[in-house]
Amino acid sequence: MADLAVRAEGLSKSYRIDHQGKAGARTLRETLVSLAQRPLQRRPSDRSSHETIWALKDVSFDVNRGEVLGIVGRNGSGKSTLLKILSRITTPTSGRAEVVGRLGSLLEVGTGFHPELTGRENIFLNGSILGMKRDEIKARFDEIVAFAETEQFLDTPVKRYSTGMYLRLAFAVAAHLETEVLIVDEVLAVGDAAFQQKCLGKMSDVAGQGRTVLFVSHNMGAVSQLCSKAILMEHGIAKAYGTVDEIIGRYSGKATELGRVELANRDSAAGTGDAKFQWADVRNADDASQQDFSMGETVRIAFGLRLASHLPKTRLVIAIRRSDGTPISLISDDDSSFALPNDHEQVSISADLTDIRLYPGTYSVSLWATDNTNTEEFDRVDDILVFRIVDGGKLTMRSLPRHAGFVFLTPTWRSRPILSEDSGIRTRQLSGRP
């Protein structure tokens, strides 16, 4: 049904590493020596001084036209190698890939920028390096300059630019690349927060135009904002493929399993241990373990706590974060009439989030126990629980857009007819202006 834009089939890439630690250029002498020795060796490839490293192993996936795919993984997991193969910078050792449509790749902002050239010259240079035709660049020139906000420095060599200006100009050129398939690596990791947001907005526009984007970033907020699906890379292997929330959850190494988490026998690094979490669980209103909830349902956070005898008042905090790390809520028992009894050593506590109104997505729960004044930390477990809010349920009939907001509010709507003789409402006269 949907058109295929990118297909990877069993892509693999190996590098040969010399044990002297040189991966690339050998000297001519070494090669001549090894050529001279070769007739004497039955199998030169068996030489023990080399080692084959698989940067990428048997990676397959399909991306449909108009899809925005996130590629996440730690450094050295093969993300960049994958992008380099798809951008044709390097070739796979085996496997094949197919790209339908013109492909543009931004593995770095400002590739080919030359410090001695002026802003104007660099726009043309960088644009043609990225694969734009001169006429295309000319047609978009004003747009690029306006986006970069560097009009008055167009004829200044970029070596005199501030870092911010340089990066803005570089991104502006890249952002105006109009190919059907776009590969983007980490370019958003530059510039100040405001400019990053502007870049992200531009990338959203690109994604919204129905173009195919493969997006690699360590910024999970950006990935979850832009992408619908994602691949998790680990040691050169595509470890998982799924919705962006699932993949980010797995990447962040947070708990993803359903059910009660035992905490009694962990090595507690945090806190004094005067209070200790024993277990934790996410449950529904019937007290059964559950992970997926619809809006309007009750999410019950339950946990067991062991208290040292004669402990003064203990304060409990539940922190909820979205899968990209955005804090959603910091709940403290201080803000309620609840008081933790201190006459038992072991207590089971639950906090019901009734009528939950969080947007669909994956959320993590952290638990803290501190003293009354928040100066001493008794115990703390980060991102120990995970629950998901899924589409549907009694409140909404439609699928909610993922990043249009955080909280689903249902105001009471009212209307009242305004009759023509009702002169109670008048536009205010502006004074002081002609």
Binding site: A25, R26, T27, T91, R102, I129, G131, G210
Partner: protein
């Protein structure tokens, strides 16, 4: 934000190009150079712009360099060593030899180092790799044009004048470019793997210059060795320039040899380059 923009993908009005990526090179990749001609032009332009930026004398250096070396050669080889110049005043004689030689040596030298110098591009962006050495060769043409005007001035000043034979110069330039592209592709590609080639190239060019009739007339070589001598493709080219500019015999045999050898070098350079091109990004 995203939801508001999600429209249907734009319908392609023509079939989209389909690129297959695999361990083996696909066919028709030389044709891609034509599709990337804008990049070739921009890179060549950049080379030229950068060469004399932030210099006071600017383009004057282009004139000064060949003129100064001609005067030095004229003094040393013409006046002191009294090398033969076939009856032509030594200065225009040696300038007519340096003109093609500098085009060849300059563009080969620049092309030979070009890939390593542009490692940042090679590892970050795809384009036909041959664009980089080709742009270096193209960028050297400006120097040649400026020096060519000095040549014309020199011909007029010394009373030799300009004849119709000057119209053969573009054809000879094409021959030089063929040779320079072949040598440049070979050396730029090999120096990605072995930097030794970047160091060897200046030496090679220096030897090559003295093996070519730049500072002396080829009449210095005994006639029976002339066919052997002209295997050096620059012999035919330089003799051709002398014939076109300052007069002399038309080097028919030497030019045929030059064309044949240049074609072979171009073929070798292009073949080797093509074979090793695909792993440039891994080893550079």
């Amino acid at each position: 934000m995203r939801a508001a923009n999600t429209g249907s993908p734009p319908a392609p009005d023509r079939p989209l190009p389909r690129v297959v990526i695999g361990p083996r090179a696909g066919a028709a990749e030389w044709l891609e150079i034509w599709r990337y001609r804008d990049l070739l032009r921009t890179l060549a332009e950049r080379d030229i712009r950068l060469r004399y930026r932030q210099t006071v004398l600017g383009v004057f250096w282009v004139i000064l360099q060949p003129l100064a070396s001609s005067i030095i050669f004229a003094t040393i080889f013409g006046n002191l060593a009294k090398l033969p110049s076939d009856g032509v005043p030594y200065l225009p004689f040696v300038f007519a030899g340096l003109l093609p030689w500098n085009l060849f040596a300059g563009s080969t030298q620049r092309a030979g180092n070009s890939l390593v110098a542009h490692a940042g591009l090679v590892t970050k962006i795809y384009f036909p790799r041959a664009i980089i050495p080709l742009a270096s060769v193209t960028g050297s043409l400006l120097d040649f044009l400026v020096a060519g005007m000095v040549m014309v001035a020199l011909l007029l000043l010394t009373g030799i004048g300009v004849g119709w034979s000057i119209l053969a110069v573009p054809a000879l330039v094409l021959l030089i470019l063929m040779l320079a592209v072949g040598t440049g592709l070979l050396f730029s590609g090999l120096s990605v793997y072995f930097r030794d080639f970047s160091y060897a190239l200046p030496f090679l060019l220096q030897f090559w210059m003295y093996a070519s009739p730049v500072v002396y007339a080829s009449s210095l070589i005994p006639a029976k060795y002339h066919v052997l001598y002209a295997i050096n493709p620059m012999v035919g080219v330089i003799e051709g320039f002398r014939w076109a500019l300052v007069g002399g015999p038309f080097p028919a045999v030497a030019l045929i040899e030059s064309l044949a050898v240049s074609s072979v070098i171009l073929l070798i350079g292009a073949t080797v380059f093509k074979r090793i091109e695909r792993s440039f990004a891994d080893v550079i």
